[in-house]
Symmetry: C2
Subunit: 260 residues, 2 copies
Amino acid sequence: MVYVIKVGGNVIDNPALLEQFLADFAAIPGKKILIHGGGKIATRIGDKLGIQSQYVNGRRITDAETIDVVTMVYGGLVNKQIVAKLQAKGCNAIGLTGADANIIPAAKRPVKETDYGFVGDITTEQVQTAPVKLLLDAGFTPVFSPLTHDGAGQILNTNADTIASSLAIALSAHYAVRLIYCFEKKGVLRDASDDNAVINLIDRGIYQSLLAEGVLSDGILPKLENAFAAIESGVKEVLIGHADDVRKNTTDAVAGTLIC
Amino acid sequence: MVYVIKVGGNVIDNPALLEQFLADFAAIPGKKILIHGGGKIATRIGDKLGIQSQYVNGRRITDAETIDVVTMVYGGLVNKQIVAKLQAKGCNAIGLTGADANIIPAAKRPVKETDYGFVGDITTEQVQTAPVKLLLDAGFTPVFSPLTHDGAGQILNTNADTIASSLAIALSAHYAVRLIYCFEKKGVLRDASDDNAVINLIDRGIYQSLLAEGVLSDGILPKLENAFAAIESGVKEVLIGHADDVRKNTTDAVAGTLIC
């Protein structure tokens, strides 16, 4: 089994949470990949540099100055600090972007109503698994920052969730893959007001029943749809759970919600 | 033959020079490694962030804020832009620091008269060649930024010339290595006032004769001493030449000075 694990900004931005998460991640045996975000640090450094982050409908506009900031922060500061910390914990991490070894080619998003700037859209079929497989099979742990490239010399900004699912789908041609999304809840809840009402297993049948019962919150529906889309593209299992539970969520006795 | 090529800030800081250099580098056939500097960009971004670069005897003091800046700029901005540009030119580059895959462990420089801060000193014997060999033999071109780590979670700043010679020496256990330093002159000059008076070949015997003649400028002596030190540690050849001549300097008909 290969674990493809995405961790978001809420962990990256908190040194104590990050330290604990990386200790848990380092302790996971076998083949694994980490994909990290880092949005708030980029905003903070952009602010200091006098570059205002602009958003349309909650999505960052990546202009020429902003792509330089995220290249520095995601690909340099956050990625290399995570690599150094994982190395200290005995995990042989190697930090990458989608430009490195041409692993994730992307296309700059076409301008329609909104010009998102230097944002890269991925076609999963174009993901190059050979270099990732080479590293995994040699015992290294790839750590990806959410950057891709257009093949013509331009770095692009790509959503970390999308990078995680694309890598998971592409690697499913070679390995059984569990894709793990770490978020701020323990998993999919049967009762949105009870943080411990985690549903540990959801398949298509259970999902239809839960929809019929009307117990799922609106916020979780897109995550579940994305999870089933990944499974239909070859990923063996998708797990949605808390960053604190990442170690347990790579075992059979999951703390979060396993979707299969 | 593996070519280990160091290019400095004068090329990195000039977009037109960088573009031409990367086109020439991409065209070099076979196994090759690039090590880049990038000091002026770090100083410029540090200034914008309100972090003053401090120097003692021409050496940068790397305090806690400065190590974050160089981690961002060297490991992120400069490294990933070079990787994306090389990919566009058909060179399958993969950007690394010495922390990645634990390739270059270092020790924080002990504090004596001066506290240089987060500066890493390398012991060549500790360089891990296995991951570099894995990548080279699979057809990838490693691109190193001048960063190392202390194995305890801290990124360190290390001189790019030193990283280049340490990698060249360590790789000499597996390959015949030519270490190429790109600088602002065409090579070692017989007459410091004549930029075209390049001495194309220097061995120990020729070096002694040149010293006896007194024709070498003071500035070139440390470079030559370092070159002979690398050769005595196993590097087959060291070449000192201009960035414009990098393509020619990987052939037998060198434009610069070959030291062997």
